[in-house]
């Protein structure tokens, strides 16, 4: 059709109606805190995804740092495996400090 298609290779021209990929957005509200997942958006490339994440998710001073990840890059555990993955931790209460009763005078440990 034109030069830019040829330079781009066989795959460069998307089919009509192809969507911009979906990205998940993680924002750290201030130094010292974790990045939290706050939603998703559509963007055509990584630079755009970061800029749009800033425009969409940090208008109310909610951000000091932004991560974006393509949604199809997120690996999640299979919900069917929930019991196998997470139940075994339930009965290991000795991992929690509250399991250990100490005299008041040293309880601040």
């Amino acid at each position: 059709m034109s030069n830019d298609v040829q330079q781009g290779g066989v795959d460069a021209r998307p089919q009509a109606g192809q969507e911009w990929p979906l990205w998940e957005v993680f924002v750290r509200s201030k130094a010292g805190l974790d990045h939290k997942h706050c939603g998703s958006l559509h963007a055509a490339d990584p630079k755009m995804a970061i800029q749009l994440a800033r425009d969409v998710y940090t208008r109310r001073q909610e951000g000091s740092s932004i991560w974006v990840v393509r949604s199809d890059q997120i690996v999640a555990n299979d919900p069917a495996d929930k019991a196998m993955y997470f139940d075994p931790a339930q009965d290991k209460v000795y991992r929690h400090p509250t399991f250990y009763a100490l005299p008041d005078s040293v309880d601040h440990m």
Binding site: D4, V5, R13, W20, M48, Q51, L52, D55, V56
Partner: protein, 258 residues
């Protein structure tokens, strides 16, 4: 408060500040038109952000211009009650928003220009103007990045997008000389330390725009002999329609409190 026009004090310092403030105001006016009509929802939000930054800059500058004027005019009287010939924005920003290519190109051109101007105004002998510049510089940098990235995407995208940005360039480039021509207002500002000659911005601006357009695989149009004159109050035909819209309520409800 009257609905009839206010008389502007055209002291050079006032004009210098209004040239910048009005440019921000009228560009914001054009960008607001995209709300609900952008190609993708994310860009509705992004364009509105840029418009909001520009409204903020306009408010600060018009308020300051009113102080320099010394006639007790506030930001709204200046924004809504001047006659057309007393608006001093660049003609470039009053052109219709056109298609998305035109809007992002114009944003990139103006943001680059504003960024260079704010950088120099941060050293203004006018403390208030310097403070405004310090804050506005961060916004201009972001606007330049956002719109510059779009110019590259569209220039080096499809044949159609390149055609549209090139057409936008051909239209917009005719209004560039006005950004850099120097007159008595500039000279007065430089003498007092208020701000730089606008001609000082030309070399760095052309260099940055050249780099952006090069990456976008676009060609810079040949210069034309046309000279626009918005910053001296002689506007294009578009300005009248903008003001009719913008001023309507203030004119229709004299003495109104909003």
């Amino acid at each position: 408060m009257q609905a009839s026009s206010i008389e502007l004090n055209r002291a050079p310092a006032v004009q210098y500040v209004l040239r910048i403030g009005d440019t921000c105001l009228i560009l914001a006016q054009r960008l607001g038109e995209w709300c609900g009509h952008a190609p993708v929802l994310e860009e509705d939000i992004a364009m509105a952000n840029i418009a909001l930054d520009l409204v903020g800059q306009a408010r600060a500058l018009l308020t300051h211009a009113g102080q320099l004027e010394g006639r007790g005019h506030d930001e709204d009287q200046l924004a809504f009650l001047r006659n057309e010939r007393d608006y001093l924005n660049l003609t470039l920003v009053e052109l219709p928003r056109g298609d998305f290519a035109f809007s992002v190109l114009r944003n990139a051109m103006v943001a680059t220009w504003l960024k260079l101007l704010w950088e120099r105004l941060a050293a203004s002998s006018d403390a208030e103007l310097a403070a405004i510049a310090g804050k506005a510089l961060k916004e201009a940098r972001y606007h330049q990045q956002h719109s510059g990235d779009w110019v590259v995407r569209l220039g080096d995208g499809t044949a159609e997008s390149r055609r549209r940005v090139q057409a936008a360039l051909d239209t917009a480039w005719r209004y560039v000389p006005e950004l850099f021509d120097t007159d008595a207002v500039d000279c007065d500002a430089t003498a007092s330390g208020l701000g730089p000659l606008w001609s000082d911005l030309e070399a760095p601006w052309r260099e940055e725009m050249q780099a952006m357009l090069g990456e976008a695989t676009l060609s810079v149009p040949a210069p034309s002999a046309f000279r626009s004159d918005g910053k001296r109050g002689r506007h294009s035909e578009h300005m009248g329609f903008i003001l009719t819209d913008m001023q309507y309520l203030q004119r229709a409800f004299p003495g109104g409190v909003w």
